[in-house]
């Protein structure tokens, strides 16, 4: 409520009160002055600002709904939210969540950061940096400001100068940021610092650039102000690792914020799941077959499979060895490789239960979420664009997928949220799923996605005609579309088949709906779930979209649970119990009883994906060895007698490669509007990717060098080669896995792999190379790092021989490592200047630079370093590397 709301007139800073006066108190009787003009500043006393603040942290208040103008003369109500920061170096605002979903703030907002700080006595310089209009107050007195940003978003501007000469090693400005240094003398006492920033406006993204407030002694570097002892300098060497920590911590902070925001939701779902569990408890137990003693059994899954193997007289392969198991498991759960340390720890943990422990550890790893995002991006046709969305684009709901799996959201809740399409459309809420740019029936497209993803119902043909090989009619698809649309859906002209009546009569397909015909919002799949719903589970029974969500996710809809467990099974076991997993109409399950068992496990355990995953991963069947001779036996593959090797997915290849290198991707920010000047409808920012799923199309349909991101392109080229899609206009479960010559080509010669093998200062392999150990140990560690196993004797000989020469003197005396990775800002090339000649020429230079890859480190002798690089190159190019055993 606004009962206590305090109205501020921001521009009336305390004039009389000296900035040196430490304990100034707000004057209780000060009246806000509504009609203040900028020229009055800062003459009259007023009560504009907090004159006290915490001294152990930075108190941040966000004020929504401030006016959209280039003036500070507005009043403030209560802050919409408050939180804390540790330092005045701030690169991100935590997300706002409602019911666990990202929601948009108003635009613009006022961001106020306040804190009491004690700065040692003496003459100083204060430095403000940031991209937005900013004012700095000390004890209520304005001491510095940054002007309002340039209003233009056109593309004909000039490249900004990002250099700064304030100190010798100062970090250059982030594109779009400005700076202002002011002289200031500290009396060594405690003062209240307040920074007011108007973020956004003109519908720009609410990004901060590299906002900071820092202080410098004469002759030294600026240090970011902080109530805790962070000691971050405004230099590359100090700021970049700080920024990395800030962003990593932000992931955890956002997770806590989600948790705080969705108490009500969790309660709803818990009640729903408790009710389901009770009902399931009353049902007769599922009969599990018994199997002979010879049949290896870890859990019930093996009994279901074993019974069938027994019938066929097949004895399954034995357990895979520990190294194979750990590689398989880690790639399946985290999407990358076990580290050398993880392999060592796993080997050391002798005795029973260590495989279970490894499964539990990896199920808890945040990488579980990363590995699921790429999967659902494909299945749910997540298709955002960096630039002007026109190619059937969606919003970037990748972030919602990621957060859902980080939080291990129950799958029925996950699907309900998807169907409801709430939250932020452009910044990572499931509302982004609801978008389909330049599509004349977006909700039909979405219905098709949902059908394939969760009902095994492939309805894409029904967009234009009744499906010849499927039972679906156009009516089904358009009824679902109407439910999503919350009103009758009319059939567009494009939803037809070209041709005359006679021609159509000859075709195999029937067009049962006429353009213009209207379909009401009615659940079409009576066979999966009756029309009747548990009304008490509906929050708004009149909402057809919510009804649709419940029709899909209700426990009575066994198809839904079946499709979900089958997707898990397919992912871990290499084929579906029902295969294809997205099209159930024409095939029967190979193991219907097992499917029923897994389905009930999912339904009865709160739709917890991890519960069912654990069952599958713990089974003997999952843990079996790859036995090529057994693969040739009839039915051995269909009955899971042996495992087959699977080629890594594109994301697994890229994530594993850079994990081997122990370096970040080092790409540009995935953002063609890095200085943040465009309308948020026309430019998205996918940030600096740290996992492969975060890449996106690079959207250079304009063929302009200045819109080219050369480092990112080396990564997306490699990803595409291995089957990643840079556009996902349609849902896909089965990616193309054909081997093409481009795959080994991009591994042998591609720049991404070149950078992986390149021993640069920021490479973990450089650190490994410097470790004081015999060359034999180095080779062993390299094998574990790349192939997750020890070398054979002959392999060891081959590489020890190659690396021995010069090994003793490999480290260059006196050389030191700069361990931080670069942050590529393209020197400020951005949409607003991309048509300038300078930008295009600079872009060409940056491209040439990228072609060279990373700078080789100077801490190792070039001759030996190159041999080490050759070794790494060889190990990642051996076919074994790109396969999951």
């Amino acid at each position: 409520m606004m009962m206590q709301s305090v109205l501020f007139v921001l521009l009336l800073a305390l004039g009389a009160a000296s900035a040196e006066k430490a304990d100034a108190k707000p004057k209780a009787d000060a009246k806000p002055k509504a009609d203040a003009k900028p020229k009055a500043e800062p003459e009259k006393p007023g009560r504009p600002l907090p004159l006290t603040a915490p001294s152990d942290r930075i108190h941040v208040e966000i004020f929504d709904k401030i006016p959209e103008k280039k003036k500070w003369d507005f009043k403030l109500d209560e802050p919409t939210e408050t939180f804390s920061e540790q330092s005045f170096g701030i690169v991100e605002i935590p997300h706002r969540y409602r019911d666990g979903l990202r929601v948009d703030r108003s635009n613009p907002i006022l961001y106020r950061a306040s804190c009491q700080l004690t700065i040692p006595e003496g003459k100083k310089r204060l430095l403000l940096r940031g991209r937005w209009a900013t004012r700095l107050f000390i004890d209520g007195k304005k001491v510095g400001e940054l002007p309002f940003p340039h209003p233009g978003s056109g593309a004909h501007g000039e490249l900004e100068d990002l250099s700064s000469d304030l100190t010798p090693n100062i970090r250059q400005l982030f594109p779009g940021d400005r700076e202002k240094a002011v002289a200031w003398t500290s009396d060594g006492k405690r003062h209240t610092f307040v920074m007011d920033v108007i973020v956004g406006g003109r519908r720009r993204r609410l990004e901060l650039g590299e906002m900071s407030l820092s202080v410098a002694e004469p002759g030294s570097e600026f240090v970011v102000l902080s109530p805790t002892s962070q000691d971050v300098e405004l230099t590359d060497a100090s700021w970049l690792p700080y920024e990395k920590r800030f962003r990593e911590e932000m992931l955890r902070r956002n997770q806590r914020r989600r948790e705080e925001s969705d108490v009500k939701e969790r309660d709803y779902w818990k009640k729903r799941h408790d009710a389901i569990a009770q009902e399931i408890g009353k049902k007769p137990a599922i009969v599990v077959p018994t199997v002979s003693e010879e049949m290896p059994v870890h859990n019930e899954i093996d009994r279901f499979l074993g019974a069938r193997l027994q019938e066929k007289g097949l004895q399954p392969a034995g357990l895979a060895d520990d190294d194979v198991f750990l590689r398989r498991l880690t790639l399946d759960l985290r999407g990358n490789l076990p580290t050398a340390e993880e392999i060592a720890a796993f080997r050391e943990h002798r005795g029973e239960g260590r495989r279970e422990r490894a499964i539990d550890r990896l199920l808890d790893d945040p990488g579980w979420a990363d590995h699921w995002v790429g999967y659902w991006q494909d299945v749910l046709a997540e298709n955002p664009n960096l630039l002007n969305p026109t190619l059937n684009n969606t919003g970037p709901f990748r972030y919602w997928i990621h957060e859902s799996f980080l939080d291990n959201k129950p799958m029925d809740r996950f699907v309900t949220e998807l169907v409801m399409m709430r939250g932020s459309e452009r910044f990572g809420g499931p509302a982004g799923f609801g978008v389909a740019t330049q599509n004349d029936v977006p909700m039909a497209a979405k219905a098709n996605v949902l059908g394939q993803a969760f009902l095994g119902a492939k309805m894409q043909c029904a967009r234009c005609h009744d499906a010849p090989s499927h039972p679906f009619e156009q009516r089904d698809l358009f009824s679902l579309a109407a439910m999503l649309k919350r009103k009758p859906q009319s059939v567009p002209k494009s939803s037809s088949v070209p041709g005359t009546k006679e021609e159509l009569a000859e075709m195999m397909v029937t067009v049962s709906l006429k353009p213009g015909e209207k379909l009401p919002p009615v659940w079409p799949f009576e066979n999966l779930h009756g029309e009747k719903l548990r009304e008490d589970w509906l929050r708004n029974p009149k909402d057809s979209r919510e009804r649709l969500a419940l029709h899909i996710t209700s426990p009575e809809n066994e198809r839904f649970a079946g499709v979900l467990v089958n997707r898990l099974w397919h992912r871990y076991m290499g084929r579906g119990i029902v295969d294809p997993v997205d099209d159930w109409e024409s095939v029967d399950p190979t193991h219907p009883e097992l499917l029923g068992y897994l389905r009930r496990e999912l339904i009865g355990n709160g739709y917890d994906f991890k519960h069912v995953a654990r069952l599958i991963l713990s089974s003997h069947a999952y843990q079996r060895a790859v036995d090529p001779s057994l693969q040739e036996e009839e039915d051995a593959i269909e009955l899971y007698a042996t495992r087959q090797r699977r080629r890594m997915s594109a994301e697994q290849v890229v994530d594993s490669l850079f994990q081997v290198a122990g370096k970040g991707f080092g790409c540009e920010e995935l953002n063609l509007d890095i200085n943040g000047r465009r309308d948020l409808k026309n430019s998205l920012n996918f940030g600096y990717p740290t996992r492969a799923w975060q890449f996106s199309t690079l959207a250079n349909e304009r063929d302009r060098p200045s819109l080219n991101l050369p480092y990112a392109r080396t990564m997306t080229s490699l990803l595409e080669t291995f089957g990643w899609r840079n556009t996902r206009q349609n849902p896909v479960t089965y990616r193309n896995t054909e081997p093409t010559v481009l795959q080994p080509a991009s591994m042998t010669n591609g720049l991404a792999v070149h950078r992986v093998a390149q021993l640069s200062d920021d490479s973990g392999l450089t650190v490994l190379s410097m470790k004081d150990q015999p060359v034999e140990k180095l080779v062993e560690e390299l094998f574990r790092r790349t192939l997750s196993r020890d070398p054979s004797a002959s392999e060891k000989d081959l590489f020890v021989e190659y690396l021995r020469e010069g090994y003793g003197d490999r480290v260059v005396p006196g050389a030191s490592l700069e361990r931080y990775a670069p942050k590529r800002t393209r020197e400020g090339i951005s949409w607003t200047n991309h048509l300038s000649n300078k930008s295009n020429e600079l872009a060409n230079r940056l491209e040439q630079q990228a072609q060279l890859g990373d700078e080789p480190t100077e801490v190792l002798t070039p001759a030996w370093r190159e041999r080490m690089e050759d070794t790494v190159w060889t190990l990642v190019n051996t076919p074994e590397f790109v396969f999951i055993p």
């Binding site: 080629r647 304009r702 206009q729 481009l742 890859g853």
Partner: protein, 432 residues
């Protein structure tokens, strides 16, 4: 026959799935509807003027306007060409002299004007986007239908930035492109990185071959592994000297290099070399944004130096026509100069031009077609079609037919039939 042998031999070598072995479409040819013209060309060089080249300032000149006075019309004077009655802009003087080997299709049209990406997609795939499948680009279709003319090279090479609209869509990666962005560097994936000397490359290959040979048995035992392993040798061969030699423009005489002009011309020269080596389809993107800032997207001040772009195009295009002709490749190679849309006759607030898609020009040269200098007519301002409209599907059909692909043939996206063009009809007058 030869090609068939190659497909078989690569099958034996386990290479069937490699990009080079992109097999002719498996779909059987349905009986053609009516008499679909069949050209005899073997290759396409598709020059792409990204941004939307102004037809009224290039291939379809009209009465001169005045940018300052906001009087609509051409920005330049028109000049006569080798074909009587056909004029082009004054900065296309070299192309004007060889226009008898060419046809300016002046009545191409579609309805996408608001967005470059969407229009680029339309011109490359011939269709609007849908939410159900991703359509292949014209280059990918050519690669898929005809494969390379020589088994040692890829079917489809892109000189420019990769993007969705140039991709293989539902045809899958085998119909994709090999790309390069810099003629000095060579194609991505097939040129060893700059810091890797030849000696080091050999050293690496030796290590890899020894390591692979230690696992020969395991690799052969599993098909997926064996298939992947087989492609490695092919990749290594392509990054070796034979394939790399194609990219060595330094081996061309200076006179030839100069006849093509600057960096864009060198791209066209490389396209000729690729075609001669057997590449089926080469897309060459024009990359000279820095000349006028905007490239062909001549809003505002972008108009001021547009003539420099046109001159560079003129030199390269005429150079390409004459060089191909000298080498007896002109009849075998269709040159297409395309763009996502044209521009209106009127000027914008700062003397440039907006977008216009109701009528614009696409250049066709060589390819054994019966050329007529210009096809189709537009009104006095070049913004409305008066005669002989050519849809994007018709344009694609013309290009496909010129290299012997039936534009009505049906491809399959999974089980869904998708004709190569949506009812496109080749321009009949150009065949025969």
């Amino acid at each position: 026959m030869k090609r068939r042998e190659f497909v078989q031999s690569t099958m034996q070598a386990g290479l069937a799935a490699s990009l080079l072995g992109a097999s002719p479409a498996l779909a059987s040819h349905p009986a053609s509807h009516g008499a679909m013209p069949q050209g005899k060309a073997e290759h396409v060089i598709f020059i792409w003027l990204g941004g939307g080249a102004s037809q009224i300032d290039t291939f379809d000149p009209k009465a001169k306007g005045d940018a300052k006075a906001k009087k609509p019309g051409s920005y330049y004077d028109a000049i006569p060409t080798a074909v009587k009655g056909v004029q082009v802009c004054e900065h296309l003087g070299k192309t004007a002299k060889v226009l008898d080997r060419c046809t300016l299709v002046r009545t191409v049209h579609h309805e996408v004007i608001d967005e470059h990406a969407a229009a680029t997609n339309r011109m490359h795939t011939g269709r609007p986007t849908t939410g159900t499948i991703v359509y292949p680009s014209i280059g990918s279709i050519a690669a898929h239908q005809r494969g390379p003319a020589n088994d040692k090279v890829p079917a489809y090479v892109l000189i420019g930035y990769p993007n969705i609209t140039r991709g293989p869509g539902f045809l899958g990666p085998r119909a994709g492109y090999v790309y390069l962005t810099d003629t000095e560097v060579g194609p991505s994936g097939f040129s060893p990185p700059p810091r890797i000397t030849n000696q080091r490359r050999k050293q690496r290959e030796r290590l890899l071959s020894r390591l692979r040979s230690m696992h020969r048995g395991d690799i052969r035992a599993e098909k997926a592994l064996a298939d992947y392993d087989a492609t490695i040798d092919e990749a290594l061969r392509l990054s070796g000297p034979d394939f790399q030699q194609i990219f060595n423009l330094g081996s061309e005489p200076d006179s030839i290099r100069n006849s093509y002009g600057g960096e864009f011309g060198q791209r066209c020269l490389l396209a000729r070399r690729l075609v001669e080596s057997g590449v089926r389809f080469v897309e060459v993107s024009h990359n000279l944004n820095f000349v006028n800032g905007t490239g062909w997207d001549t809003h505002n001040e972008g108009q001021l130096n547009q003539h420099l772009l046109i001159q560079e195009l003129d030199t390269a295009l005429a150079g390409l026509v004459l060089d191909l002709e000298r080498r007896n490749y002109l009849d075998k190679t269709l040159i297409v100069v395309g763009t996502e849309f044209g521009r209106p006759a009127k000027f914008d607030g700062r003397g440039g031009r907006g977008h216009h898609s109701k009528s614009f020009s696409v250049f066709l040269g060589g390819g054994g077609l019966r050329h007529c200098g210009a096809y189709g007519t537009t009104d006095a301002m070049g913004t409305k079609i008066e005669e002989k409209p050519v849809s994007v599907a018709d344009l694609h059909a013309t290009i496909h037919a010129s290299i012997g692909i039936d534009p009505s043939e049906v491809l399959y996206a999974g089980e869904r039939p998708v004709p190569i063009t949506d009812g496109g009809k080749p321009i009949a007058e150009l065949f025969g």
